[in-house]
Amino acid sequence: MSRTFLGMPGIPHGTGNLGGEEPFPRSAARHLADHQMRANLANATGTIRAKRASVVSELPDWEELRESGRAVKEATMARLDEHLVELERRVTERGGTVHWARDAAEANRIVTDLVRATGAEEVVKVKSMATQEIGLNEALEEAGVTAWETDLAELIVQLGDDRPSHILVPAIHRNRTEIRRIFLETMPGVDPDLTDDPRQLAMAARAYLRERFLRAKVAISGANFAVAETGTLAVVESEGNGRMCLTLPDTLITVMGIEKTVPTWRDLEVFLQTLPRSSTGERMNPYTSTWTGVTPGDGPGEFHLVLLDNGRTAALADPTGRQALHCIRCSACLNVCPVYERTGGHAYGSVYPGPIGAVLSPQLTGVEANPSLPYASTLCGACYEVCPVAIDIPSILVDLRGRQVESDRRPSAERIAFGAVARVMSPPRLWRSAQRLTRLGRLLARGRATLPAALPPPLSKWTRTRDLPTPPSETFTRRWARDHGDRT
């Protein structure tokens, strides 16, 4: 890999809520100071981690499922154009209408026009990352349409005029006392004696939203999967708000990233096993709905599917980074990430936080627009271990860092270091002489376990915050050659 990948001419990047205004280190430092949030997060991620580990260990064929999931996604991407055309054909055959959106603005325009055509002034929404990514609620608001989020956590976020901080549990940063306060302040007609018991809070949300479900004419959803061979869409959820949205209104509009496609019905047998166990740590989530076009007498009479690119094809052109498109948004990598656990989701600035966000967001926007996110990781590898589709997040991060360094013209310690690593790792002879150079490091360390904190500038920028282990007296390749009598 002597040349880093800097994007494909002619394939534009995505836009929308994919990056923050300030670089990750600065926002992370700010969020680290929020002790309430850190306590909530540590508690929540710890609980989910334990539940996940227990239900995953129940399946003797977990690794096989993981490998199949990875392979299905890889195979899908290799012929994504054909699968999308097939999906479109099947959905259309069954009475649905398919729309294509190059970017966020086009998707927002399509959905807004569709809603306007129905005459509705409000829509109910089931949690969808894609619509958050494109900022659909804001676009609808500008057009005079109110969007009601119906997922409990999304509702908490919306009523609290806040932003989601976790893919799956968007209000993970709020505790029960804060939620009670938000409900009392913002929910019309709420019982003033509401306590902070989660059951009571959930029942308040049930009463508040039931009315809206029953009167809604239009619903907007995302999709977890779309089966090309049958035209079937799937939404995986817990509360039943998804079922309400998919079943009750006259018109259903589904906005879906093109990468959510799977070729066959049978492929779902893999993901319906790995997704719930990885995300909520349940054997199966309470409700999964699947539907194909329109079914007379049952559910919406009108169905629109909006297929969204918004930078996905740009990511697809990257030989390493395209893996990020395999993500099934289970959020397991967030829950194991030591960086996420401490900074929380808001620090990432994008709707996709955590390890997957650190690779996906810069791929969608181009790394120039998100230069600090590839550094939001310690490269510990825990995210890769838990990922149900085996995305090698650490490798993509390293690759993105190299690319970020390359795209940035100003010289910096990282630029010099990563540029040098990339050049040196390719030809084996150079790599070996570089390894010999590390002996110099041993001299500097003078027998201690780590190198002195202060290397001369510009390298001091790196060592100020990191302990660099003293290089070993012998490289691995040399030792291997000695122990095995092999020549390298």
């Binding site: 199949s68 195979a75 049958t230 079937t232 079922r243 009750l248 096993q273 409700y287 999964t288 094809t313």
Partner: protein
């Protein structure tokens, strides 16, 4: 160029640039549980999983279904209970006296009913899942969604081991609902609360083979 043509062209260019090649998909995972549908161990496993989700499970013989459903409804709704609606094609021998048939009424009125009684298309023991297929025996999707109590009747021979065996028995073109326990949320400090928007109570009547 239309958005459709442009996106398809971008995909082809991207795949060309990344030199993507289609690979074989290995399927070394378990595709069958090994135990035939309705095996006594599968019934026990299904019950165990459902109870774990805090659904109530009632076992009965093929002759006792209507009486069992009746008992469940009396317990769940009390003596002067709100209207109970059964799926249009629910077998007569499963339908308690006094239950009406779903007549396709609007959602607002369906929401006022006390309970719904439906059949099931297939049940998955390993995950504690019932799948409803919106046919006459299961009823339209709103029926098992809006009333606060849902009673699902499952025949022993409909209980399979794992997810792959269930999917191959289902018609993907039908609107399917996979139900694993009552609706639930863990959005508040990850504490599980049953019954948010869907039915707050799920009763499963598991019918032994004749």
């Amino acid at each position: 160029m239309s958005a459709r043509e442009e996106i398809l062209a971008r995909i082809r260019a991207a795949n060309g640039a990344a030199q993507a090649t289609e690979t074989e998909v290995p399927r070394a995972y378990r595709r069958s549980d090994g135990r035939p549908p309705g095996h006594p161990e599968l019934l026990d496993l299904l019950e165990d999983r459902l109870v774990d989700y805090r659904a109530a499970v009632h076992r009965c013989g093929p002759e006792e279904v209507a009486a069992t459903v009746e008992g469940v409804l009396t317990e769940a709704l009390g003596p002067d209970r709100a209207e109970v609606l059964a799926a249009p094609g629910l077998p007569g021998t499963w339908t308690p006296s006094g239950a009406g048939r779903d007549d396709g009424r609007p959602a607002v009125r369906l929401s006022e009913c006390g309970a719904a009684v439906t059949g099931t298309a297939v049940a998955i023991a390993q995950t504690g899942t019932l799948v409803l297929d919106a046919g006459a025996v299961c009823g339209r999707r709103a029926l098992s969604l809006l009333p606060d109590v849902c009673v699902c009747v499952v025949r022993a021979d409909q209980v399979v081991g794992g997810v792959p065996e269930a999917l191959e028995r289902l018609d993907p073109l039908a609107p399917l609902t996979f139900v694993s326990g009552p609706s639930a949320t863990s959005d508040i400090e990850l504490e599980r609360v049953e019954g948010v928007h869907g039915p707050r109570t799920l009763h499963v009547v598991l019918v032994a083979s004749a």
